[in-house]
């Protein structure tokens, strides 16, 4: 880990040197705090992130970044506890850190951009190598744009010893020994993910812009949570998900400038379906207002509604659903409501065009969201499901030199 951090610092230093020699350097530093509560247990995740991008030539820019998830708290480990006591919901104490290091480049001309990147994510029980490529072009006096993106990841998930019958397989109890070839009680499974996304933006009038997006993703491999178990009889077995999942989504968004208010209305709709028979619709409405030349404030609301996966059951003893079983409440029918706001402050330049003496641009962003989850078919007997209320707060600094 220390070695990785040193490599990142070296890369950022190289980018800085290149920037001072050639052209513009952009740096973004952000940190998000996610806190989830609403029951007998809670969870907190802190996500720091640093990204840098530098123009090393007129048509070429390089980027590098690092982010982490620092997780602490508890999560439900065994679903459908048979007793009424809160203590009967078996929980797992969780303390883990995930790091993601990445880099890439972009080639640009006046109308088009071609970019590619690589990232490596690792934590005690999960590893992921991924690359992505995208091409974007603007047409018709920049009134139309298209972007095609593809991402591929090669992941490894830690697990415990296997069993011939999934109903006899226990859950992973800890990440100790994960990815240690000499540990006979640990195995790892592959997960391959392909993602393809096509989006287009069209100017419809002097005040209105439309965006359409289509995406597809294919997942193949171990898609269960190794830590989660489900009671399917006298014992609890590790949840058992299908090994393939194809996911499709379509998004339509608008930006409409309201002249009398000097603000933009930002509605969007996303429709989703997948081969696990999960269907969903998400509606979002945002409004962003300029306050003078330096401040922007945005408020928004989002409603998400989904059906459950075909193999989801609230109680596999009374209502089995074939060969698969899950303890993932996110695969149950649910609704979420998100409300939030953000404030962006761009520091104004001085008479010579500099910001704070050395920057060409400098801005601060504060963002806060409240996410409430309504679970329609997920119960622990008479115990209320925990962790249905989440607070997400972000503070970000963006600077350009």
């Amino acid at each position: 880990m220390q070695l990785s951090a040193q490599r990142l610092c070296l890369l950022l230093a190289l980018l800085s040197v290149s920037a001072s020699a050639r052209a513009q350097l952009g740096v973004e530093a952000a940190s998000t705090v996610f806190h989830e509560s609403g029951g007998p247990i809670s969870m907190t995740v802190i996500v720091p992130e640093v990204n840098a991008e530098v123009d090393v030539a007129e048509a070429l820019s390089l980027r590098a970044g690092w982010s982490a998830d620092v997780v602490s708290g508890a999560s439900v480990a065994v679903v459908d506890a048979p007793a009424e006591s809160v203590d009967a919901i078996t929980t797992a104490s969780v303390t883990d850190t995930r790091h993601v290091l990445g880099g890439g480049f972009a080639l640009r001309d006046e109308q088009s951009t071609l970019s590619a990147g690589y990232r490596y994510g690792f934590e005690n029980d999960y590893r992921s190598h991924g690359f992505d490529v995208s091409a974007r072009t603007e047409l018709f006096d920049r009134n139309t744009s298209f972007e095609l993106a593809y991402a591929r990841s090669f992941d490894s998930v830690c697990d415990g010893p296997g069993a011939e019958d999934p109903a006899q397989k226990g859950r992973l109890d800890s990440s100790d020994g994960c990815f240690d070839d000499d540990d006979p009680d640990r195995a790892d499974h592959d997960l391959a993910v392909h993602g393809l996304q096509l989006s287009g933006t069209q100017t419809l009038s002097k005040l209105l812009v439309l965006q359409l997006g289509l995406s597809a993703q294919i997942q193949h491999g171990f898609l269960s949570n190794p830590y989660r178990a489900v009671r399917i009889g006298p014992t609890a077995a590790q949840e058992h998900h299908p090994e393939n999942r194809a996911r499709y989504a379509a998004t339509i968004g608008l930006r409409y400038w309201i002249k009398p208010l000097s603000g933009a209305l930002q509605p969007s709709v996303r429709l989703y379906r997948d081969t696990w028979h999960l269907r969903a619709a998400s509606l979002e409405l945002g409004y962003e207002q300029s306050l003078g030349t330096d401040f922007r404030v945005r408020v928004r609301g989002r409603l998400h509604m989904q059906t459950g996966a075909a193999f989801y059951s609230d109680d596999y003893v009374l209502a089995p659903r074939g060969q698969y079983f899950t303890g993932d409440r996110e695969l149950s029918p649910l609704k979420t409501v998100l409300v939030g706001g953000e404030l962006t402050y761009s520091v104004p330049p001085d008479d010579e065009g500099d910001v704070l003496g050395i920057f060409s641009a400098f801005s601060l962003k504060m963002k806060g969201d409240l996410l409430q989850t309504y679970l329609e078919e997920f119960h622990y007997d008479t115990v209320e499901p925990p962790n249905d209320l989440a607070l997400i707060g972000t503070f970000a600094i963006v600077a350009e030199i």
Partner: protein, 75 residues
């Protein structure tokens, strides 16, 4: 079934909108309001990525595109 038909209908409406005369070219000198930061669809940077990661792990139907990050959200 209702979601399936609304999915198809929305796609058709969107395609019709974009192929209609409403897509008339707006001249560069008329793009004063379109150039406002509030009119951009581009990503809001790290804060948007973080929010998407949260939603990916809290809604079974979020994600599914080319979201970067890795990790199973096991916790």
């Amino acid at each position: 079934m209702a979601l399936r038909s609304s999915f198809s209908r929305s796609l058709l409406v969107a395609i019709a909108l974009c192929t209609s005369s409403a897509c008339a070219t707006v001249r560069p000198q008329d793009k004063e309001h379109l150039a406002e930061p509030s009119m951009a669809f581009s990503s809001g940077g790290a804060s948007t990525t973080h929010e998407q990661h949260v939603l990916d792990n809290r809604e079974g139907a979020s994600g599914g595109g080319t979201t970067r990050g890795g990790g199973c959200g096991c916790n």
